[in-house]
Symmetry: C2
Subunit: 324 residues, 2 copies
């Protein structure tokens, strides 16, 4: 995590404050809830989303209280969706620890997710940050729509690049873009900056998801915490497979899709993974992610230089280099 350490440098103190604020927001007088929340807070992730909020705020202005409110909101909503995701995916692990549904049960996980969502709203309302609220509500709506669109697409077995980008825009890029937009909004009233920063967030968000989808083919299961080919088992058709299919004739493509539909076993999943690698699916998807990151960096480089700008550039690079 050497690269990441450097990225965090300009906002180390802000992130420390963030942790305290985040934990204090989640204090309740219900014993059971407190235990679950403490477990959740202890299991903290890379905090990429609040990090983006702080860095974008620092890029265009001065980090202030509103930035902290925004950072807490994005992490509350993100955590809520993770907790719900683990229920719907029946995931047993998250960040190397048991998921809430595995450690407790589905009931507690769904309720905790709703509690976190409501808390996110209340933080916004208490601080009268209705602009942030609108941005995040739209993101939450898009996220659920994106996941539902993916399920629909999986059933129809569509394998179009266009549909893929529509899905990942909704389910991943919308929230990452929202984190950046909120950071920007917290420290400047410059509307042009806001539009550019929002677009930066969208681009790195798309690249983030493409990298995730690549890691599903290439990642070591013990690092990423999920077995390789998990998406294929769920019949999700992601960019590496889409590109590999474009590199073979229609007949072969059809037979691969039929094979995917019929098989879910380890050995057969491995065959599809090999098909994708052999037909340059990984290389092409990584290339596409890199293009998006380059475009994103161009946007950031138009702003005046400062330590936050450097971190945002490094973070953009990290997104497509990370192994987990």
């Amino acid at each position: 995590m050497k690269i990441l350490d450097n990225i965090y440098l300009p906002v180390v103190k802000d992130l420390e404050q963030f942790e305290q604020y985040f934990a204090s927001i989640l204090k309740t007088n219900i014993g059971l809830l407190d235990v679950v929340v403490r477990y959740l807070v202890s299991r903290k992730g890379k905090r990429i989303r609040p990090l983006l909020t702080f860095l974008t705020a620092g890029l265009v202005g001065k980090i202030n209280e509103r930035t902290h409110v925004g950072a807490a909101m994005v992490e509350l909503l993100h955590t809520a969706t993770l907790v719900h995701d683990d229920v719907v995916d029946e995931a047993k692990e998250r960040r190397g620890l048991l998921s809430i549904n595995a450690r407790w049960n589905n009931k507690i996980a769904v309720l905790l997710g709703d509690f976190l969502l409501a808390k996110g709203l209340l933080v916004a309302i208490e601080n009268k940050e209705f602009g942030f609220l609108e941005i995040l509500s739209t993101a939450v709506k898009l996220m659920s729509e994106g996941e539902l669109l993916q399920i629909q697409t999986t059933k129809a077995e569509e394998a179009s690049e266009e549909k893929y980008f529509e899905i990942i825009h909704s389910k991943t890029a919308s929230l990452i873009s929202a984190c950046c937009e909120i950071g920007c909004l917290s420290s400047t009233i410059d509307e042009k900056a806001r539009t550019r920063i929002k677009e930066f967030g969208r681009l790195i968000g798309l690249a983030f998801q493409i990298r995730d989808d690549i890691l599903d083919f290439t990642g070591k299961s013990n690092i990423i915490g999920k077995p390789i080919g998990n998406d294929l088992r769920e019949r999700k058709i992601t960019l590496p497979l889409i590109y590999a299919l474009q590199n073979v004739n229609t007949k072969e493509a059809k037979s691969i899709l039929t094979f995917l539909r019929k098989n879910k076993k380890k050995k057969e999943i491995k065959e599809i993974v090999e098909f994708v690698i052999k037909n340059n699916g990984i290389i092409l998807a990584q290339h596409r992610a890199k293009e998006l990151i380059e475009k994103a960096k161009q946007i950031i480089l138009e702003f005046d230089d400062n330590p936050y700008r450097q971190s945002l550039i490094s973070l953009a690079d990290y997104i497509i280099e990370r192994e987990k």
Copy 2:
């Protein structure tokens, strides 16, 4: 449903408009989501919550566009929690039709719930109804806290009346109270009226849950859609049981609680149901609900008479007379 028909009378047109508005809010261009939403809308319930919003608005002023926005918000949030509830309870039916999780699956149900929540927020934001939003966010937070408190209490096997009321205040009365408060707020700026209407909502909300808990002992399973003794199987200690336990000596009470902890079978559940009936648990709980309703009606009777007032009085009576 003769009684209910009369109650609806002053707001029949508003409720028709409500149905159109509600369906229009939920339109999306994602085919799968549209199918699920149409199913959800077709399965419409008694619409008690929007009904309360309209009636309270009419009681203190004139029903207007803001009332309609409020009514849509409360029904969106209520529907979201129902869809999530069915996931956590693994319920197969709702309103005589298959639940979303049973008809589709958990994944779609959780995502649909999140989508409905987000839509509720967006309706508020688009209409700049931040006051409504605060009321409802607090209610959603309380609802998840109340459910979690109930789980915690079930585990500790506490059987106190005080804890019971704390739980049902959070999990049920808070939203019903919010529906009334929003109705009032939409048509008057009178703060005193607001406080009284809010208290009215809290009281009928408590009575509503007590009646639900009574029906778990006495209801016919084919009407209420759940088998009798469902709460006991989940080891929920509700008011009828609490009162019955107060009517026996400590030793017997302890043995009943031990019996409950160990047994979940039909025959044994039946024994506990009989214990509760024999020791006047049902009669006393119904009496308590009636007291709450009388207090609630007193509050309403202090307002000037009009058709909405009469409906609210009848609705209050209906809440503790209903058989499902």
